[in-house]
Amino acid sequence: MVDGVIATIIKAFLLINVLMVFFAFMTWVERKLIGRFQARYGPNRVGPYGLMQPIADLGKMLQKENMIPDGARPKLYLFAPWIAMACALGAFGLMPFGNVATLPFTDYTFHLYIADTSVSLLVVAAIGSLGFYGLMIGGWASSSKYALLGGMRAIAQLVSYEVAFTLAVIGVIIQASSLSFVTISNAQDNLWYFIPQILGFLVFFVAAVAESNRPPFDLTEADGEVVAGYHTEYGGMRYAMFAAAEFVNAITLSALGAVLFFGGPSGPYLPGPLWMLIKIGAFLFVLIWIRATLPRVRFDQLMKLGWKVLLPVATLNLLITAAVVAYR
């Protein structure tokens, strides 16, 4: 807590609310963009340009009946979406939006991040891996074959891609010789890491798409194969929490990409938070673009890509980086 308890609580409160509003807005952007990619209008009935669509969806979700399927384990079934949601929000809390800022019209200075620890990157990885349990417990506790299969698929996919993901990120860690996001983003003032770490960035990006369960790697909820995967038996707000957790994870991974490879909040003219938003938005746009363009891969293709392509490439990148840094 760099600014004391009260300021930290206020910052955390603001961050979560801004994040959720951003998430709601991004669901609208996603549907609008997918519509445009498919030569449709997308949502355009609720509010101007359909902007109120997320709020209408929220209202719909809130009114739905909360039911517990027969044979499910009620406590775990009800608890699983909370794990997913809490972990998704928690991982975002460490993202830096700049260094120090002054509150307008006062002399009060504060930091544009909630916490900067010496192990930030690992904390995000740890919270992310705890988030898997939401999917797994949800799939298991639902007492449904498809939910169980979806949950198992999710775990197999996430565990496989976590390896390549971590190896790709280690390149950046070696180059910045730090695990703290603030240090890493400050180290990129002269040169963004995606240029020297281009191999690492490519692996990171593919693995991040797979980690966030987004198309073309959305096998955990492939509707033609496992109905809706781990959240098959969920409805109403609980389904919405799973969906929100998934999208927030995509936002977190975008922010991670921006911090690790694109200099984080640094950039000319505009203030740090705005640069961060622009970079996150660019990442999310590419994710949506990919979703509208590429067909879903098969499960064996997914595993082959993860273990036989990404892992060796990430290892190669790691070796090159280590050699270059050692002889610099």
Binding site: L76, S118, S129, L130, S143, G151, M152, A156, V159
Partner: protein
């Protein structure tokens, strides 16, 4: 603040440890073990060991427990498991082990006071400090562990693929191919024969 967190985490650690053995459902037991590992990580954080705490969560919660739950969810029992058969020597062994651990705890903590704190700087327990130790003082242990892990990976591959496949010589490959071709041909002619017979049978 620290003392409150300590007691919360300690209570959680004990409660989840009891739940691991008291729960009848293996899946719930495994989840309780997960809770135990996370509470231990909190205790490590209080000891300024940030890297160890996070490594504990990533390695045990993120990898080991996932595998446990994976296996239990796929092939384990879904419902409660009965008490099973309790052998008398197991009870005595458990009592003996418990007594030994209790003695160890008493010996270690006896005479300990809160008077002389160990002084540590802010760098203690950071990844840099631990990395420094690993590649200087503990290099041999570090390298040995990497070899052991590599052996584990190789063993996993061997078990997973069901032993090392024998490499066939060219003649053997040719023989196999001819054999399977012959089999396929026979199969096909038999199918044709059957179909003809059937149609003849229908005709008559």
């Amino acid at each position: 603040m620290g003392i409150v967190v300590f007691f919360l985490a300690a209570a959680a650690a004990i409660a989840t440890a009891v739940a691991v053995v008291a729960q009848r459902n293996p899946f719930v037991s495994a989840l309780a073990l997960l809770g135990n590992l996370v509470s231990l990580a909190v205790l490590m954080l209080l000891l300024e060991a940030q890297f160890v705490a996070i490594a504990q969560i990533i390695v045990y919660a993120g990898a080991v427990m996932v595998m446990f739950l994976f296996v239990i969810a796929y092939v384990g029992p879904r419902g409660e498991v009965g008490p099973g058969e309790r052998k008398p020597w197991q009870v005595w062994l458990a009592i003996l082990a418990g007594t030994l651990i209790a003695i160890e705890v008493i010996v270690v903590t006896y005479g300990a006071t809160f008077e002389d704190w160990a002084e540590i700087d802010g760098n203690y327990g950071s990844p840099a400090a631990i990395g420094q130790e690993l590649v200087t003082n503990y290099l041999l242990a570090f390298e040995v562990v990497s070899v052991i892990l590599f052996m584990g990976a190789v063993a996993g591959v061997i078990f997973g693929t069901g032993g090392r496949p024998r490499r066939l010589s060219n003649d053997e490959v040719l023989a196999k191919e001819t054999e399977s071709a012959e089999l396929r041909r026979r199969e096909a002619s038999r199918a044709v024969l059957d179909a003809t017979r059937e149609s003849m049978g229908e005709g008559s």
